[in-house]
């Protein structure tokens, strides 16, 4: 497989292809008829997904820096360049994006009835924006993509949404815009104070900011990403957006858009402002917000009459685990956070798809309108139960690995926080099982539920890979963990790194090294590079 | 010679301004605007004696703009009159909020 990929120079063009092919797809969709739009959109997204799968084999985490780097000047007078790169953190986000985009488009075939061309064009545009966000290593480029994702999502919620779609769309837009504008100010501040006249990743890492500056800038970045995550108390846009969004919108929102926030923590927030990030007060604030999110969102979720809103709140709870995992600043915590991100993307995406299927059949999101579905739709019920169990973190599913590592990592540095967060495990059962019971179990006492159709072939094709992934990651997460570990260690070393001056030279050198010759010679200069002691054994 | 010329220009300008503010007939307001423009032209010409050719140059620009403005403005007023059968500016205040 690697040989094949190398023979077609896979690494040279894949990152560009992943960003621009969806745009080509957008154009194609716009040029066809409304009837064919969904098929064409699905084919493009499937093509992108299949192409991205090569990353699983060809991606080599190496020393944890960016690989497959390519840079071209874009706006030279400002020091902006079109710079892409991928590392052990972004590779999973990209795969998750291409995967859920294809799944979400497949899952929208029945749901979206009006203005189909526009819808599928926007879906592909959204995919492009998100992939670009995860691949950009130039801060200006990253910000462009960050804002670019906002537009398609705004229209997807605002046009194809439910009753209160305008309110939800505007709320979503404003919440996100507030954060991102503050971040823009912070970006410009770093840009000017670094004095290099470059928006490059390394330039921002070596901006030489004082602790005071870092704290303020950290706050601006954290607000932007924290709204996206969302962290309590900036979460109220999420339930509204989820409830009103059409099924594929909800899937993308939960699976991918929320990850942009936590990815931002790992990629930008921690490496740019390491001193602020390890400041005890900052850490404590973030941890407490994370824990409050876990418990509070679980409680609120438990009393929701609307199934979609319930799942939306569970997203807040899950992302709380990511937040505590990340800000525990331990290897296990960060890795756990990453796994929760992947796992949440899969299981919550699957839950929204299932809820969408329910809505297509019965045109209701209220839990009380269901009951006894397990008797008439056994395949549906099986998929639903497995997904729900993965969502509440049953061992053997992906949810457990993530939450376990995140809690374990948090416990290493902050026992009390982890102990309180661990009660989230109980509350997860407290919100999820009653919904499962009231939808699938109990009496089949509503006549209109008697005709509830079981999964169609298309729906099975959607659910099968999702369920398989949940179990695969739950049973054998090591292939995932070992790919992300070096990059996470780089982040961790950056944050925990000893005196600032020393770290800067070392990290800067590492980054440059990684940029210049990413794969061919990972240990170019043993004097500069940290010894690759923790790189696990690999075989080709 | 400069002071009387500038004084005259100022007086015409103030008359024009007051006319724009006080009068209700759109045609009159329009003529008052022309008064203002010509007051400025007068100031330009007077000052160009001391500063050079640029002042007279600008007068030509202003006259061109004024001519264009007169054409467009009168056209608008005529179409408004056709619609409302009045040129009293108090009667057409839809362009708000």
């Amino acid at each position: 497989m690697t040989g094949l990929l190398a023979s077609i120079l896979y690494e040279d063009w894949i990152l560009h292809a992943l960003i621009w092919l969806p745009l080509v797809g957008t154009a194609h969709v716009l040029l066809t008829s409304a009837e064919r739009a969904k098929d064409i959109a699905f084919r493009w997204s499937a093509l992108v997904f299949v192409l991205s799968l090569g990353l699983w084999w060809s991606f080599d985490p190496g020393d944890g820096g960016f690989t497959m780097v390519s840079t071209a000047p874009w706006i030279e007078s400002w020091g902006v360049s079109y710079a892409l790169g991928i590392d052990g953190i972004s590779v999973f986000m990209v795969l998750l994006t291409t995967f859920t985009s294809a799944i979400a488009i497949l899952g929208s075939f029945e749901y979206v009835k009006k203005r189909r061309k526009a819808f599928y064009a926007l879906m592909l545009l959204l995919e492009m924006g998100v992939v670009g966000f995860f691949l950009a290593t130039d801060i200006f480029l990253f910000y462009v993509f960050f804002e670019l994702t906002l537009v398609p999502m705004y229209f997807i919620v605002g046009i194809w949404g439910g009753q209160r779609r305008i309110y939800a769309a505007i709320k979503f837009f404003l919440y996100t815009a507030v954060g991102s504008l503050l971040m823009l100010v912070a970006i410009l501040y770093v840009y000017f104070s670094s004095g290099t006249g470059s928006f490059g990743y390394e330039a921002f890492m070596n901006a030489g900011l004082s602790l005071r500056e870092q704290l303020w800038l950290f706050a601006a970045f954290a607000l932007a990403f924290g709204i996206k995550v969302p962290i309590f108390p900036f979460h109220t846009w999420l339930p509204d957006a989820h409830v009103e969004a059409p099924t594929p919108g909800s899937v993308i929102l939960a699976s991918v858009l929320l990850k942009m926030g936590t990815y931002g923590f790992l990629r930008f927030l921690l490496p740019f402002f390491p001193e602020a990030a390890r400041h005890p007060v900052v850490v404590m604030v973030m941890l407490v917000l994370g824990v409050v999110g876990i418990i509070y969102a679980a409680w609120v979720a438990a009393v929701q009459p609307d199934a979609k809103k319930l799942v939306a709140y569970t997203s807040v709870a899950h992302m709380g685990f990511v937040v505590i995992g990340v800000f525990a600043l331990t290897l296990n915590g960060l890795q756990g956070g990453m796994v929760v991100m992947i796992s949440h993307g899969i299981s919550t995406g699957a839950l929204f798809l299932l809820l969408g299927m329910m809505y297509e059949r019965r045109h209701s999101r209220l839990i009380e309108d269901y009951g006894g579905i397990g008797r008439v739709a056994p395949w549906f019920a099986t998929a639903f139960v497995i997904t729900a169990l993965a969502s509440i973190g049953l061992p053997g599913t992906s949810g457990f690995v993530g939450e376990f590592l995140a809690l374990l990592g948090t416990f290493e540095t902050h026992m009390v926080v982890a102990a309180i967060a661990a009660t989230g495990v109980v509350f997860a059962a407290y919100y999820m099982l009653p919904m499962v019971q009231r939808v699938l179990f109990n009496k089949l006492d509503k006549p209109e539920n008697r005709t509830f159709a079981d999964l169609t072939r298309r729906e099975m094709a959607i659910m099968a890979p999702l369920v398989a992934l949940m179990i695969w990651i739950g049973v054998h997460p090591t292939p995932f963990l070992e790919r992300m570990e070096p990059s996470i260690e780089v982040v961790l070393e950056r944050v925990e790194g000893a005196p600032r001056a020393a770290v800067e030279t070392m990290e800067g050198a590492t980054m440059v090294e990684a940029t210049v010759n990413p794969v061919e010679d990972p240990s170019a200069d043993p004097a500069i590079l940290p010894a690759p002691a923790n790189v696990p054994a690999r075989e080709d | 010679m400069l002071t009387p010329a500038l004084l005259l220009s100022a007086v015409i300008f103030v008359i024009g301004t007051l006319g724009v503010i006080v009068r209700k007939n759109a045609i009159i307001i329009f003529l008052c605007i022309e008064l203002q423009l010509n007051a400025v032209n007068l100031a330009f010409v007077a000052l160009s004696r001391y500063t050079g050719i640029e002042g007279q140059l600008y007068v030509f620009f202003v006259m061109t703009v004024a001519a264009a403005e007169a054409a467009v403005g009168l056209a608008i007023i005529i179409s408004i009159f056709r619609h409302y059968e009045t040129v009293n500016v108090d009667k057409f205040n839809l362009l708000k909020w």
Binding site: I170, V300, L407, T478, L481 | R23
Partner: protein, 722 residues
């Protein structure tokens, strides 16, 4: 390119692969995989048959798979697959057991793959075979096999037959993961997995609201315990950097000071986990509700295996508990209190399964007391014998319910088929069931020479003996435990006899029409009962204590397997025993009230026999009326006990309702009013400001010109004068 986990990373997991040196187990992974295979096959059949039933339901009719002459393949194959994989697993376990050298000192760990491997944590999916896990595996697969066979008869006419066996096989798979896992993390996989299966099987008839409620309750209460387990794991990982049993137990003594804060916290948290799983106070409330599941499930999961996982876990962590005497005292206290409370409740229940459920809770309390006072072998011993006789009791009750169900089907009006007030005199109709259940009753009552006598006597004796240990700081507390345990043992004899008399003796109360349809269970059900009855008689002989073997109890030295279990488990428990002796001194050789082992053995068996006889007289003389005409017990104390000490009501008022109310408040007040209020306020404020300033736009051109002029004058003025 990365292909799975390499040998190098497994080695970096720090696992000692010792299999080659001492003993090569035969396909241990297959023991675990066979039930999983059964689950997959039965699961496919279940989904296949559900297709028919749901299609029929959509057309508005009921699908009866047994309507034709021969049921469809989906309902025939599970009969062979379900018990079949269990039989094979049991055979394989037996083979390994027989091959295991008696002097095997170190556990054999068979690794399969690196499950969670990060920079500083490495958890392997590995099986640990040692004497303790071997005993548990035998019980799980052996008793499990018998219950699977019984289920063929009991569930044979259920439309969800393949689904039932799928769940049951999955349960056994997770239970084997639990007992065979080589570390706390792998154990936890089984731990939550069996909880899941328990949830699925309690709510097996999920259309019934009450039954699916019971499943949900079990899962949530179990999860409360699981938090304790998780936190204990985190503390252990902080201390040792690993979660594998071998390094933790080997290093515990050097790592923790005996009685230190950390080790006490770890063990108390583990106790919380164990209490959740094993239905100990204060988390016992789910088990009686769990009786909503099919009766063989109650026998397998809620009597013989899953609920004993907590006991197994404490015994497995014996080294840790021995290092924390305070925790031990708490464990034993929880156990004895649970035993007593549950026994009192059992005395006033009318539902035959509820009596057995509380009896199980009570017996689990005994096991906790055993492992709490450091008698780990005695705890496991009672676990084994209890698996035999309680499985027998539940299956016997299942046979009774099976018969009552058929009778109720033909009888007049509604008849609660589990209420003992509707039974009576069943001995005439089902003599085999009656006989084997009497054996089990005598066993649980602790009457010589049945299995329960030896195991229960050993627990009570060890409590007494450690109460008298010279430097036991909790000596007097242990003495109290001992007294309460004796009392509970007598209560046990009473409520079990009451159950037997109400069910099988006296006049029949099913009603005339119904009683003619009462029948003995088919052979596929009675044979497992008889096998279990044999085990309930002789099962106790595997561990006749030395002190008793030369007395009446050991038939004056003629029983062959004296102290066999004790010796067998010694490699697992000896470290804990040494720590305990180092802390407490040698155990005493007399009970707190005086008297030696033989004397107390005699006293307890005679007392139990007297109680059984008295109960037969007393209960036999009472007149019971069918449930429909009975108002329940009279008097404050009986009512209090009948209502289960109002635990459910208490929790409802103190925990469930407040949390619900708080949840609602968080949603309605904080989310909707405070946060969204602020968000909407910013939006509304912008609108308001826009509206206010828009008032300046009157549309009057003169007005605009005037303001414009004022502005120009203002700026000019500022430029000139400032």
């Amino acid at each position: 390119m990365v292909t799975g986990v390499s040998a190098a990373s497994l080695a970096s997991a720090g696992m000692a692969v010792q299999a080659a040196a001492e003993w090569q187990p035969i396909l241990p992974g297959l023991i675990v995989l066979l039930p999983l295979l059964g689950f997959v096959l039965n699961g496919i059949l279940a989904l296949q048959s559900a297709r028919h039933s749901s299609a029929a339901l959509r057309e508005g009719r009921d699908w009866d798979p047994f309507a034709g002459a021969r049921p469809p393949a989906t309902h025939r194959l599970p009969t062979w697959i379900g018990p079949g994989v269990m039989g094979l697993a049991f055979a394989l376990a037996l083979l390994n057991f027989l091959g295991m050298p008696a002097d095997l000192h170190d556990p054999v760990v068979v690794p399969y793959w690196g499950w969670i491997v990060t920079g500083d944590l490495s958890i392997a999916a590995a099986i640990q075979l040692d004497q303790l896990s071997m005993v548990m595996t035998l019980v799980v697969t052996g008793v499990g096999f018998l219950i699977h066979v019984f289920s063929v008869g009991y569930m044979g006419r259920d439309p969800g037959y393949p689904r039932y066996f799928a769940y049951l096989n999955l349960f056994v798979f997770f239970m084997l993961v639990l007992v065979l896992g080589s570390g706390f993390a792998t154990m936890f996989v089984g731990w939550e997995g069996v909880g899941l299966c328990s949830y699925l099987l309690i709510g097996y008839w999920f259309s019934d609201r009450e039954k699916s409620d019971a499943g949900k309750k079990a899962f949530i209460v179990n999860r409360i315990g699981d938090v304790g387990f998780l936190l204990a794991m985190f503390l252990l990982f902080n201390g040792f950097g690993t979660l594998d049993f071998i390094p933790i137990f080997a290093g515990a003594e050097n790592h923790f000071a005996a009685g230190g804060v950390t080790i006490t916290a770890i063990t108390l948290l583990l106790l919380l986990g164990a209490a959740g799983k094993s239905a100990q106070l204060p988390l016992h409330i789910w088990l009686p509700d769990a009786m909503a599941g099919p009766t063989p499930v109650s026998a397998l999961i809620h009597a013989a295996t899953m609920v004993t996982a907590g006991v197994y876990m404490v015994a497995r962590s014996s080294v840790l508990f021995a290092l924390a005497p305070t925790s031990q005292a708490v464990v034993a206290g929880v156990g004895v209190l649970t035993a007593l409370v549950a026994a009192t409740i059992a005395m006033q229940q009318y539902d035959i399964k509820k009596v057995l459920a509380y009896s199980t809770v009570s017996q689990l309390g005994f096991m906790f007391m055993a492992v709490g006072v450091g008698a780990f072998t005695a705890g496991i011993f009672h676990l084994v014998t209890h698996a035999f006789f309680k499985a027998l009791l539940f299956l016997g009750a299942g046979a009774v319910i099976h018969a009552m169900h058929d009778a109720a089907h033909h009888g007049d009006g509604h008849l609660d088929e589990q209420d003992m007030r509707n039974m009576g005199g069943l001995r005439k109709y089902m003599p085999v069931t009656c006989a084997v259940m009497w054996i089990a009753t005598l066993a649980i009552a602790g009457i010589w020479p049945f299995a329960g006598f030896f195991s229960k006597d050993e627990i009570i004796w060890y409590t007494a003996a450690w109460a008298g240990a010279e430097s036991n700081p909790f000596g007097q507390l242990y003495a109290v435990y001992w007294g309460l345990a004796l009392l509970t043992a007598l209560l046990t004899a009473f409520y079990m006899t009451r159950l037997m008399v109400m069910t099988f003796h006296g006049a029949n109360r099913t009603g005339k029409a119904a009683s003619s349809h009462l029948h003995e269970a088919p052979n596929v059900m009675t044979v497992p009962l008889i096998v279990l009855a044999v085990l309930s008689v002789f099962g106790g002989w595997i561990n006749v204590p030395n002190a008793l073997s030369d007395s009446f109890a050991g038939l004056w030295g003629s029983l062959p397997m004296t102290e066999w279990l004790h010796h067998w488990l010694e490699p697992v428990t000896h470290t804990a025993a040494e720590i305990q002796v180092a802390g407490f001194g040698e155990a005493a050789h007399a009970a707190p009230a005086g008297g030696g082992e033989v004397a107390w053995a005699l006293i307890s068996t005679v007392a139990a026999a007297v109680i059984v006889a008295a109960a037969v007289m007393f209960v036999g003389r009472r007149k019971y009326v069918p449930a429909a005409q009975d108002a329940g017990p009279r008097g404050a104390l009986p009512r209090f006990v009948y209502n289960k000490w109002y635990f459910d009501e208490l929790y409802d008022a103190v925990i469930v309702r407040p949390v619900l109310a708080l949840s609602r408040w968080c949603w309605k007040a904080i989310d909707t009013v405070v946060i969204d209020g602020f968000v909407n306020f910013t939006g509304n404020f912008a609108r308001l400001a826009g509206w206010a300033t828009s008032l300046f736009q009157t549309g009057q051109v003169n007005m605009y010109a005037f303001v414009l002029t004022l502005g120009v004058l203002f700026v000019l003025g500022a430029a000139v004068f400032l």
